[in-house]
């Protein structure tokens, strides 16, 4: 396979990988580092890739595993999602209320444990099937479904009750587990 072929196969997945990485790592540079590591690993392991495997699932799996092993090495959780940059940016339409709700939503997403957040992101945002999501996480489909349900319930509670007072005051939130 030529270099061009390999690039043409992998590169279309880069935007989605960046988005997932950003949602996990919460910081643009950290996310791009993660994606770069993921691409390097994918390319070096390309010859031993499972034949007939789903490329997208494979890439997401590599990325998540890299994130998890880096997270295990960190003694402290990294910075939370940069809400201001995203929600106050020019790209989000709508009035002040919408922005407030989106800010709440992102803060809520940030409070989810990684295993729930990943399921929610892969299913709701990246449109992976439940089965593909189960493969990325290495868990049964039933577990995916229950994590999805728990994540959505938890986000809903967060949205309806609003962020905890301490969160409201501190612009520099840390993830709560």
């Amino acid at each position: 396979m030529s270099m061009d072929d390999l690039s043409n196969l992998i590169e279309p997945h880069v935007p989605a990988l960046r988005r997932y990485a950003w949602s996990l790592a919460g910081d643009r540079d950290a996310a791009d580092d993660l994606v770069q590591d993921c691409l390097e690993r994918a390319i070096s392991r390309w010859p031993s890739r499972h034949r007939d495997g789903n490329l997208r699932v494979w890439l997401f799996t590599i990325l998540r595993n890299l994130f998890l092993s880096a997270a295990r090495q960190r003694t402290r959780r990294g910075p939370h999602l940069p809400l201001d940059a995203l929600v106050d940016g020019p790209t989000v339409a709508g009035g002040q209320d919408d922005r407030m709700r989106m800010r709440d939503l992102m803060a809520g997403l940030d409070t989810l444990p990684e295993e729930q957040r990943s399921v929610l992101l892969l299913v709701s945002i990246e449109d992976l099937s439940y089965e593909e999501t189960a493969k990325v996480l290495g868990v049964p489909i039933g577990t995916v479904m229950s994590r999805l349900s728990r994540a959505r319930d938890r986000l809903r509670v967060h949205m309806e009750s609003g962020p905890a007072p301490s969160e409201r005051k501190a612009p520099d939130l840390r993830r709560v587990k």
Binding site: S7, R19, S23, S44, R51, L86, L105, L120
Partner: protein, 268 residues
């Protein structure tokens, strides 16, 4: 609550939120939600939340890719790293090849001394591995075949390589061994445990045939190993970046090693 054939479950409700239910199941969920206002409210909140998340994260995917995440340079870097590593291994291999000759000469004159040299270690590393056994068996079956030694002829080399690469799920190439006096005859697909293997066949002007057996999923890299079947057929085999290779032929060891080195140099 029974709706249709099966009870409505939380998995149905989540799949409903994601719009992934078959029409009849979706109708059943809607009936259920019509009868359970609290659940309907919860599920509606989930749907709204999903829409909002998608809207919010939509912009993230539209951002231009930063230069450092372009795939081609990363591939190029990985390949040049790979080439450097191969070069180091090739040098080690050349050293091992020299030992092989020295070792057999020393072995001839120094019978009974039985000093373990690197050469004897290599020749004694004759562990019977399934890959080698399979390759020997394929060799025996097809090398003596007169009418259909190969499945796809070398005239269609591009097609052959593309087909085998696709089936193995790994980029293959048929090494050019004309410098060693061997021409590609063609190749075939073979069964090998849980996946297929590829085999390329070569011959020389004297009609001597060689086979190069390749399969994926051989994850532990190994250096060259040598194995003889005791009846004049021998093989060099090695594993490199996930692929296993066995070069088999009725050649003497030195000659076979030279061909194996030529194969090794060209792959990857």
């Amino acid at each position: 609550m029974m709706q249709g054939d099966r009870l409505i479950g939380e998995d149905d409700l989540q799949a409903y939120v994601d719009g992934r239910l078959a029409p009849d199941r979706r109708d059943a969920v809607e009936v259920f939600l019509g009868e359970h206002p609290e659940e309907a409210e919860r599920i509606e909140a989930h749907r709204a939340q999903r829409d909002m998340l998608r809207a919010l994260l939509k912009t993230k995917i539209e951002e231009p890719i930063p230069a450092r995440l372009r795939v081609a340079p990363i591939v190029e870097e990985a390949r040049s790293r790979h080439r450097r590593r191969r070069l180091q291994r090739l040098r080690a291999l050349a050293a091992a090849g020299a030992w092989l000759i020295v070792g057999s000469v020393a072995g001839w004159y120094g019978k009974g001394l039985s000093r373990p040299t690197e050469a004897t270690q290599i020749t004694e590393a004759v562990q019977t591995r399934p890959m080698v056994v399979d390759a020997f068996s394929a060799y025996r079956t097809f090398v003596s075949e007169v009418v259909h030694p190969v499945e796809v002829d070398a005239k269609q080399e591009a097609h052959l390589v593309q087909w085998l690469s696709k089936r193995l799920g790994a980029p293959l190439s048929a090494p050019n061994l004309t410098s060693q006096g061997f021409r590609l005859m063609g190749g075939r697909l073979l069964p090998a445990g849980d996946g297929p293997a590829a085999m390329f066949m070569y011959d020389d002007d004297g009609g001597t045939r060689l086979t190069l057996y390749v399969r994926a999923g051989e994850n532990d890299d190994t250096a060259f190993r040598y194995k003889g079947d005791g009846k004049g057929v021998s093989a060099f085999y090695w594993r490199d970046t996930g692929m296993g290779y066995v070069l088999t032929g009725a050649l003497d060891r030195t000659r076979l090693l030279a061909v194996a080195e030529a194969v090794y140099r060209q792959l990857g």
